[in-house]
């Protein structure tokens, strides 16, 4: 049997190479677009998190403009962000799965994989190195040229150069197979829509045909940056709990010389030699001021009746609470010795606590957001756990029970949205206004909600008329400030818009110049695919979208009926101005009179009546 051969390990970069379709690099058109996205989003994320107003410049240049598409292009994205410290550059751009985005906060990208994928794709299709120029301190710029060793998942540095420069920021340039003829529209849309949802950023783009697109920042303040927070109980699975337990589990301290020094210092017995009894006596006096590791060491010493000399000669192997035995390795005799532990001893509890980990209530309040002591106790009642249960002692079945209970308990407060960075109503409004200069517009930011433990916020804007050229409802979708351009049909936002009965809001949805801008912010946007192009229809998200849209539609409806009334009044006034003169003319001839009757005053009156009607309406609404 040679089944063993089948289990050769592959490196992450090889895995991604084989599965590049998943990440949006399936063909030259899509790949060029995805590469643009990954680099621009990385730059925006970097600027956001450092509080720098982004200024991003992108160029796409054909290597040989004469050739037909698909052909090789050089894509360069340059930003004014924090840059990457020189020593991290090779790893950040030369390995897959190296990144700083593993915490729980909102960011455009998830793990910083995409940029590496783009580099990998460029390398595969053109065999040219990536060029990275990074200036992290505003003094020195480091220029790298690198290739990626796919098998080993390691960067191969071809060239490294240092120059002094005061311009902080990062510039990445790759050569890749692309099809701008086909991808151009999407890329231009992407750049423009990104500027719509990031009105504090300046984004410029020089396209291969020599066209320049420049979207200047229209506001000078950024929305508050998101913070990293602990997870919410909803959406936690057994595996996550297990990993959290490992974190909380106090390891038996490694009793080395350093540790012993620490114990001596805390006891104030640094210099001299002390007997076991002297140490214990001092401990009783100082207990309250001792740190936890020191207390644990002293507890161990109490059961071994060991002084510092003896402590140096042994290594603790196990604390067996079931049999109340303490096992240790004695270097001097080279054997494992079991010492009894007195359950009555005050130190026993100290040791037991350490090994068994925190109580369930402590664990819940410390490790999760939105769980206070009361909520923790209430939860334990609900889940039928004793509040003082030690999490370290929990069996697998109990962990499953705990995880299930966390999902079903309804008493937790909704997730903390401070990890989110919605754009805010005013910037969104400004973004829409700059683009469409609409006759009517309304925006709303819903309060934070959560699906499966992940907080999210819906922001939405609606615009009518003005510079909107398209007829019918156009929906601009954004998630974490990323425009979503592909796979529109299957997106939950589209579903909600389609389900709306626009007639109710006095809008002819197939002919009205209507734009809807929808932005969902979440620590994890539930994309349907790895390509991150459409949001799945989670009921919680759908509900929030629906409420947001209803709010905006009602506002629009108010505007529409006012508009409708004004139009009707105008139409009526026009009608009288058109027909009354004719009526006068015909009746004059019919009755054989010479002079036409004076009908002008009637037209005036009629127009005046409609005007006052209109004013009344405005007052009522105002």
């Amino acid at each position: 049997m040679s089944s063993k051969e089948k289990f050769n390990q592959i490196s992450p970069s090889e895995f991604f190479y084989r599965n590049r379709d998943l990440a949006g690099f399936s063909n030259p058109t899509r790949s060029l677009y995805t590469a643009v996205r990954e680099f621009v989003e990385n730059s925006l994320d970097a600027c956001d998190h450092s509080g720098i107003l982004p200024n991003i410049h992108m160029t796409i240049k054909a290597v040989d403009p004469e050739k037909p598409d698909p052909k090789q292009y050089i894509l360069t994205v340059k930003d004014n962000g924090p840059g990457i410290p020189s020593q991290h550059v090779p790893l950040a751009f030369g390995t897959v799965l190296y990144g700083s985005k593993f915490g729980l906060k909102q960011a455009r990208g998830m793990f910083g994989l995409g940029a590496t994928m783009a580099i990998l794709y460029g390398q595969i299709t053109t065999n040219k190195p990536v060029k990275v120029k990074s200036n992290a301190d505003g003094k020195t710029r480091f220029d790298y040229e690198m290739l990626l060793d796919i098998q080993k998942n390691k960067p191969v540095i071809l060239k490294k150069q240092e120059t002094s420069s005061s311009e902080q920021g990062l510039s990445v340039s790759i050569c890749l197979d692309g099809d701008y003829a086909k991808a151009g529209t999407k890329i231009r849309d992407y750049v423009y829509q990104t500027s719509l949802i990031t009105p504090y950023a300046t984004i410029s783009f020089d396209d291969p045909k020599g066209e320049k697109f420049h979207h200047k920042a229209i506001i000078r303040s950024m929305p508050p940056a998101p913070t990293i927070i602990s997870p919410h109980p909803y959406g936690i699975d057994v595996e996550t709990i297990r990993r959290m337990l490992v974190d909380t589990h106090y390891q038996i301290p490694n009793v080395d010389d350093k540790m012993i020094e620490k114990v001596r210092k805390e006891l104030g017995m640094a210099k001299k030699k002390f007997t076991y009894n002297e140490i214990m006596k001092k401990t009783e006096k100082k207990w309250k001021s001792l740190t936890r590791p020191v207390r644990v060491v002293i507890a161990l010493m109490s059961f071994l009746e060991a002084d510092f000399e003896k402590l140096k000669r042994i290594r603790i192997e196990d604390v067996d609470l079931r049999n109340n035995k303490l096992l240790y390795w004695d270097y001097s005799t080279s054997e494992t010795i079991a010492a009894d532990m007195d359950v009555e001893s005050p130190y026993y509890k100290q040791l037991a606590n350490t090994v068994q980990g925190e109580s369930l209530t402590q664990f819940l309040t410390k490790r999760f957001q939105r769980v206070g002591p009361t909520a923790a106790v209430e939860f334990c009642k609900f889940a039928k756990f004793k509040p003082e249960t030690r999490v370290g002692n929990m069996t697998d079945q109990e962990l499953v029970k705990l995880s299930d209970a966390l999902q079903t308990y309804e008493g937790f407060r909704s997730p903390d949205p401070t990890c989110l960075a919605p754009l805010g109503e005013s910037p969104l409004e400004k973004g829409i206004e700059r683009r469409f200069d609409p006759d009517f517009m309304a925006v709303i930011q819903r309060t934070a909600s959560a699906y499966s433990g992940f907080p999210f916020v819906i922001e939405m804007g609606i615009a009518y008329g003005g510079n909107i050229e398209s007829r019918g409802t156009t929906v601009y979708r954004f998630a974490n400030r990323i425009p979503l351009l592909y796979d529109e049909g299957s997106d939950v936002v589209l579903k909600v818009v389609k389900d709306t009965d626009w007639n109710r809001y006095k809008v002819k949805s197939d002919s009205a110049p209507l734009v809807i801008v929808s932005h969902i912010c979440s620590t994890r946007v539930p994309y349907k695919t790895v390509g991150k192009e459409n949001v799945a229809d989670r009921p919680e998200i759908e509900k929030e979208l629906r409420l947001a849209l209803q709010f905006l539609s009602r506002k629009l409806s108010g505007y529409m009926s006012k508009k409708g009334q004004a139009e009707a009044a105008k139409k009526r006034a026009n009608l009288y101005s058109k027909y009354l003169p004719l009526v006068a003319q015909f009746c004059t001839e019919l009755s054989g009179k010479k002079k036409e009757p004076d009908y002008q005053k009637m037209i005036k009156e009629e127009t005046a009546i409609t005007n006052t009607d209109e004013n009344k309406e405005v007052e009522k609404n105002g």
């Binding site: 009526r572 009288y576 004719l582 009526v583 015909f586 019919l590 009755s591 009179k593 009757p597 009908y599």
Partner: protein
């Protein structure tokens, strides 16, 4: 001699009546104009009161033996912005009708539609202008022919009848209507002409042009001392007016010959008692007119070749069975037979027994019969 004298007197009287009618019309139009003028002067919105022509307001008058409008009227006001347009259209038509009547110039329905465009009166289509014409008829209680608006002509007349034209350019000119074998079109000049003299003792209205030609060829006019009129299907108003005048002024009985089906029966009925469409008008009916055939019972009697009825034929039968005019006598009997046999026979069906079978055999028989009902 005495008879002639009487005729002359009638003629004079007719002429006078006609001038009166025309005067009355012009007077009515002027009054409407003056009322509207006054309203405008007073800063009030003018309005027309129009008899309601919806089904609910159409009733059958047994005494008059025709459909008439009930007492419901609707107001068309210039104040109502949704009625202002049609109000203006109606006023314009009154103005236009006034002009036509003064100048004695005739206009077709289509002419009306196009004439409106010179006055920035925007009729969307001829249907709309036709409706306004009916509105004016209802307001004035006079048919459009009285204000010189005529439909396209498709019916014709033949026989020994001498007429005297009254339309401008032909006044006093006479014409005998047996001089041209194809017959004479029944248009505005014909309906407005004086009926001077005739040797005929009968008017035969026939539904189809083909049979009309046959009747002329076979000299039915001479053989039966008759005037032959081709109604061209459902008789137009001008034809019905002429039929009425021949009956009333010349004292001629009117008989009607149609296809042997439900539509034929109803063509005869409309000549006799008018249509629901024209319920707002009187003086278009010949209540004494007689439907001579082809009856449903004739189909079997004369062994005529038949065609099965279509779905819509049968539906029409059932619709008419509910009509108050079909609730008794011949009309009810024949309609019920049609409904039962679900078959129909055309006038041409007699050709099976020879081309002149209808004039030689059927017509005399039926004329004889008709005297008895």
């Amino acid at each position: 001699m005495a008879k002639k004298q009487t005729k002359k007197e009638t003629k004079k009287q007719n002429k006078k009546e006609k001038i009166d009618k025309s005067k009355k019309l012009i007077e009515a139009l002027k009054n409407h104009g003056a009322q509207i003028y006054e309203d405008l002067e007073n800063g009030e919105f003018p309005k027309f009161s129009i008899p309601n022509r919806s089904i609910s307001n159409i009733i059958y008058d047994k005494k008059l033996r025709q459909y008439i409008l009930g007492t419901n009227t609707s107001l068309r006001s210039a104040r109502n912005s949704s009625q202002l347009r049609s109000f203006t259209q109606l006023l314009w038509l009154a103005f236009f009708a006034n002009k036509l009547t003064h100048e004695k110039k005739s206009s077709t329905l289509r002419d009306v539609y196009y004439s409106s465009q010179a006055f920035a009166i925007d009729f969307e289509d001829q249907q709309e202008s036709d409706n306004i014409i009916v509105d004016l008829e209802a307001v004035l209680s006079q048919p459009r022919e009285d204000f010189f608006v005529f439909p396209e002509e498709r019916s014709s007349i033949f026989g020994d009848l001498t007429i005297e034209y009254t339309i401008p350019g032909y006044e006093g000119k006479t014409q005998n209507l047996s001089s041209h074998p194809d017959g004479y079109a029944i248009g505005p000049s014909m309906t407005s002409a004086e009926l001077s003299s005739t040797s005929a003792e009968l008017v035969i209205a026939i539904e189809k042009g083909g049979l009309f030609t046959r009747f002329v060829e076979e000299q039915v006019d001479k053989k039966f001392k008759s005037i032959i009129i081709n109604t061209g299907g459902q008789a137009p108003r001008s034809t019905r007016t002429l039929l009425k005048r021949l009956h009333d002024e010349m004292g001629l009985p009117v008989v009607i010959l149609t296809d042997g089906d439900v539509y034929g029966e109803h063509i005869a009925m409309v000549i006799k008692s008018g249509s629901a469409n024209a319920a707002h008008l009187r003086e278009l009916t010949v209540p004494d007119a007689k439907w001579m055939g082809v009856w449903a019972t004739d189909i079997d009697k004369f062994k005529l070749p038949t065609i099965p009825m279509t779905e819509s034929d049968i539906k029409r039968c059932h619709d008419l069975l509910k009509d108050p005019r079909y609730q008794e006598g011949l009309w009810k009997r024949e309609l019920e037979v049609f409904t039962k046999i679900k078959k129909k026979a055309e006038l041409e069906a007699f050709s099976k027994y020879g081309l002149n079978n209808i004039t030689e055999k059927y017509l005399p028989k039926k004329l004889e019969e008709s005297k008895s009902f």
